[in-house]
């Protein structure tokens, strides 16, 4: 029972803005002049039929793809292209449609990798495991444990992620992204392939992350029910163009959206 849940949420100013993003691969136009913004603390959904360019959009946002045209504005600074690790350093984390965990490592180690950017100790101290390195390890272990606790994955802490079922892997991936303490969290179909119960859990976690850490969430999702339930604003892409943008209710009643969805056989 979320008593008074929405009362505390404050959506701030624009944290991430995309202007006129155009991206193509060898003649195939993936995104065409797409502009939208993401405000601080909101849950922003990107929806659209298959091949609408949703994943490409996320890939542009965290620097994996370089758009041919357009500007990305993150926290007031303009970037034509961000290098992936620079984007990570600035506070953009993401999860992937086809889970990109480090399969040979344990859950805890995966999360600790997420802490990497926050760790400073040099290599020699690590080799000797001397004071500062040890303290740093412990400090970040604690941070990792808090995320483990938050996402309720205590029982699989020491399990190599390759052996986990799909739903849990998705959760671990979220944990790894959270470990980066991101300002903006990009989620690429976080609920794809999950059963109802897992979806509900994941919804709860996404909302709790948004609520508890104040993290801005940008997510791609196919399940319309989920999108309409948890997002503050929705942007709709179709064939690489933006066709609608607004609150879930506005988008739901937008004729262009209805046409796009009816036009695509699902």
């Amino acid at each position: 029972m979320a008593v008074g849940l929405d009362s505390g949420k404050k959506i701030g100013g624009v944290v991430l803005g995309l202007e006129g993003i155009t991206l193509s691969f060898g003649g195939v136009q993936a995104l065409q002049d797409v502009s939208f913004d993401v405000r601080e603390h909101e849950v922003r959904a990107i929806i659209g039929p298959n091949g609408a360019g949703k994943s490409s959009m996320l890939n542009v946002m965290n620097g994996f793809y370089q758009p041919q045209q357009g500007v990305i504005r993150f926290r007031g600074r303009e970037h034509c292209w961000m290098r992936p690790h620079a984007a990570a350093a600035m506070g953009i984390a993401r999860t992937f449609q086809n889970i990109a965990l480090f399969k040979g490592m344990t859950v805890l180690d995966n999360i600790m990798v997420g802490r990497n950017l926050k760790m400073r100790c040099n290599f020699l101290l690590q080799a000797l495991r001397l004071g500062p390195a040890m303290r740093e390890e412990i400090e970040h272990r604690r941070a990792a444990e808090e995320i483990i606790d938050f996402l309720e994955i205590q029982h699989i802490r020491r399990t190599p992620v390759g052996r986990l079922p799909y739903g849990l892997q998705k959760r671990v991936e979220l944990a790894r992204a959270l470990a980066m303490e991101p300002a903006v969290l990009l989620l690429d179909e976080p609920m794809a392939g999950m059963n109802l119960e897992e979806k509900q859990d994941m919804c709860r976690f996404v909302l709790e992350v948004n609520d508890h850490y104040g993290t801005t969430v940008v997510l791609i999702e196919h399940d319309m029910g989920v999108v309409m339930d948890i997002s503050d604003r929705v942007v709709v892409l179709d064939y690489g163009r933006k066709i609608s943008d607004g609150t879930p209710d506005e988008v739901r009643s937008d004729q262009a959206v209805i046409d796009a969805y009816l036009g695509v056989a699902h």
């Binding site: 505390g8 949420k9 604690r142 444990e145 205590q154 802490r157 508890h212």
Partner: protein, 650 residues
């Protein structure tokens, strides 16, 4: 501080903080490691909490509801309330809001401490109907960020208030502790009760301390012992072992990370002192047996061979009896190859004393644990007697008794066969129920336990049933349903049984199969099934259960007093008996009367000789929804045996 003045729990806490300040008092598995608090740290925390409670208006005589899993802060809340002369009222964490509401109203509770959001939500729901609940405190803030109610505070916030208060009034806590008396009520526990509404059992400091002191002395518990506290805080056993005895002896209490990780946590901690109701031991054994069946043939063979050795001589060796050298050698080998590793896997390598109580334990089960070298013993007691009536003494263990009267306890058998108890470790009264109190404590000060039993020739008490359940069959023969049900339940495939026979010509029974054990059994035989209801009605399963019933009958036939109680007909219920459906108590005792009424049509079918019966039942699911389960139940006959008098004569 002299021994005499250590007569309340707050004083005991101060004593440990002074005598062994650096000794770990309590641990909790949290964030991946065992976070520990020493006795001096606990004293500081408890003082702050008590101060905060006082600041918020908690007064002498107030009650503090405590609801949640075993958590250090919840234990501290008990001491904090006691410091202020208040009464902690722990409640079952799986109780639904209605059940909580009853207790809150009955005890007039104004303050409640909850573990987490789940419990807070329940309490808020209660509060809507019983506004007497003025303050709710919580331990884990997760998900509670946007709960803006003024009556809601975190324990941290309360402790902050307390620290502020002790800055202003440094000797406040000590003076409060000074005011405490041994005769004050230390705790109130609501008995689930097989009939009627729960009653609040008021237990004084002196009673609980007496029980704890008796137990600690009996088993020589010291500050170096370790216990894993995972049983509900609302249950008297947890109070005695994890709270009273820990505060008396100063040993360390360990709280597991979560319900799912109890086994792992147990393995990590390796308690030296362990308590579990029989069903936990039974579940563990079932798991062991299932897992060993998955092992390779050699290991399996070795396991069974050495378990055979243990069955022959393990219990005797543990009891210090004479055993042939050859057997002893084999047992030593088995100890290296099987028993030691097995104890290790069970997390019981370091167990010095283990107790079971709450229900009868199967002789095979009991013997199994003793034979692998775990000093498992039985005790007898109830909430009213602080779980302290009879204990089994090392070296005098019998399978079917609960031991000798504990130090300081006087036990008498009434003419009716009821067990009567008198001791210094007894409850004061039922809260606001002088009638009920008068009913159970007679003029001579004996508490009427409601259990029927007798002393055997060695002076050990043997409990056969609830006194009120003991009845007569149509032919006048003694009928003890519990005894029969337990005999059936001792089979691993049978989870619950309900016997009928009072005033009837023959005994019939309902059976619940154990879905884990029977499910596994079915999978091994490639019997497909879709769920409990489906599996329960398989002819193969009926044959399996009939075999069990007939074995039980054969044993009953040997006992001249109970040979008429053999089960003639039985059926397997289409649903599992469930506390949520009021069919079991929260401590999983069958409510026979309720069941007989609810399933009257089935009882009639048993006695009318029908071979099947249709039934439809309302059930509550875990998420609170309800639905219907229906099935055509088969009814089968079981073979009975002639009384063994002939053999006896021969």
């Amino acid at each position: 501080m002299s021994e005499r003045s250590l007569d309340t729990f707050p004083r005991l806490l101060l004593q440990h903080a002074a005598v062994r300040p650096e000794h770990p008092a309590i641990r909790e598995k949290d964030l991946g490691i065992w976070q520990s608090w020493t006795w001096s740290q606990v004293a500081v925390e408890v003082r702050a909490l008590a101060g905060g409670l006082a600041e918020l208006g908690f007064r002498r005589g107030d009650s503090l509801a405590i609801i949640g899993d075993n958590r250090p802060r919840l234990y501290w809340a008990m001491t904090a309330a006691q410091i202020l002369g208040g009464i902690p009222v722990p409640m079952y964490q799986d109780a639904v809001a209605q059940e909580l509401e009853y207790v809150l109203q009955d005890a007039g509770i104004r303050f409640a401490i909850a573990e987490d959001q789940e419990q807070v939500d329940k309490l808020i729901e209660c509060r809507e109907r019983s506004p007497g609940l003025e303050h709710i405190f919580y331990d884990d803030p997760r998900g509670l960020r946007h709960y803006s109610q003024a009556f809601l505070r975190s324990i941290d916030a309360v402790q902050e208030l307390g620290r502020g208060r002790s800055a202003k009034q440094p000797d406040f806590i000590d003076s409060e502790i000074e005011q405490g008396k041994a005769g004050d009520v230390a705790i109130m526990l609501y008995t689930s009760g097989t009939t009627g509404k729960p009653k609040g059992v008021c237990i004084t400091h002196s009673a609980l301390i007496n029980a704890a002191r008796g137990g600690c002395g009996f088993d020589r518990l010291t500050a170096d012992d370790e216990i894993l506290s995972y049983l509900p805080m609302a249950w008297v056993g947890d109070n005695l072992f994890s709270y009273a005895q820990s505060l008396l002896a100063g040993f360390t209490v360990n709280c597991p990370e979560s319900g799912e990780t109890v086994m792992t946590d147990m393995r990590e901690i390796g308690p030296t002192y362990y308590f579990a109701p029989p069903r936990v031991f039974e579940n563990l054994l079932t798991q062991v047996m299932i897992r060993i069946e998955d092992a390779g043939a050699i290991k399996r063979g070795m396991f069974h061979y050495f378990m055979g050795v243990a069955r022959r001589c393990g219990a005797e060796i543990l009891a210090g009896k004479r055993v042939a050298a050859g057997e002893r050698l084999l047992y030593a080998l088995g100890n290296v190859l099987v028993y030691g590793p097995l104890r290790n896997v069970l997390g019981m390598s370091r167990v010095r004393v283990a107790y079971t109580a709450g229900a009868a334990i199967g002789p095979d089960l009991f013997r199994f644990y003793r034979s692998i070298g775990i000093n498992l013993k039985q005790l007898y007691g109830s909430t009213e007697t602080c779980a302290y009536v009879c204990l089994q003494k090392d070296g005098q263990i019998k399978l079917d008794t609960v031991g000798i009267p504990a130090p300081g306890v006087e036990v008498r058998i009434a003419d009716s066969g009821e067990v009567l108890v008198k001791s210094a470790a007894m409850f004061k009264e039922y809260y606001k129920r002088p009638d009920a109190t008068a009913e159970t404590i007679d003029a001579e000060g004996y508490f009427h336990t409601g259990d029927a039993g007798f002393f055997d020739q060695d002076g050990q008490l043997k409990i056969i049933d609830r006194a009120k359940d003991v009845g007569k069959m149509a032919n006048g023969a003694l009928y003890a349903p519990n005894y029969i049900e337990n005999k059936l339940k001792f089979f691993p495939h049978i989870r619950e049984a309900v016997a009928f026979g009072h005033g009837r010509g023959m005994v019939c029974a309902f059976v619940n199969i154990d879905i884990g054990a029977v499910g596994n059994w079915a999978e091994r035989r490639n019997i497909p099934y879709s769920g409990y209801t489906d599996l329960a009605q398989k002819p193969e399963v009926y044959a399996l259960v009939r075999e069990c019933v007939e074995k039980a009958n054969a044993e009953l036939a040997l006992d001249p007093a109970l040979c008429d109680s053999q089960v003639h007909r039985f059926l397997i219920l289409h649903k599992e008996l469930d506390p949520d459906d009021d069919e079991l108590t929260r401590t999983r005792k069958v409510r026979r009367g309720f069941i007989a009424e609810k399933y009257g049509v089935l009882v009639d079918a048993l006695y009318s000789g029908k071979t099947s019966q249709f039934i439809e039942t309302q059930v509550k699911f875990e998420d609170g929804r309800s639905g219907k389960v229906s099935a055509d139940l088969r009814i089968e006959d079981a073979k009975t045996y002639p009384p063994a008098t002939a053999r006896k004569a021969a």
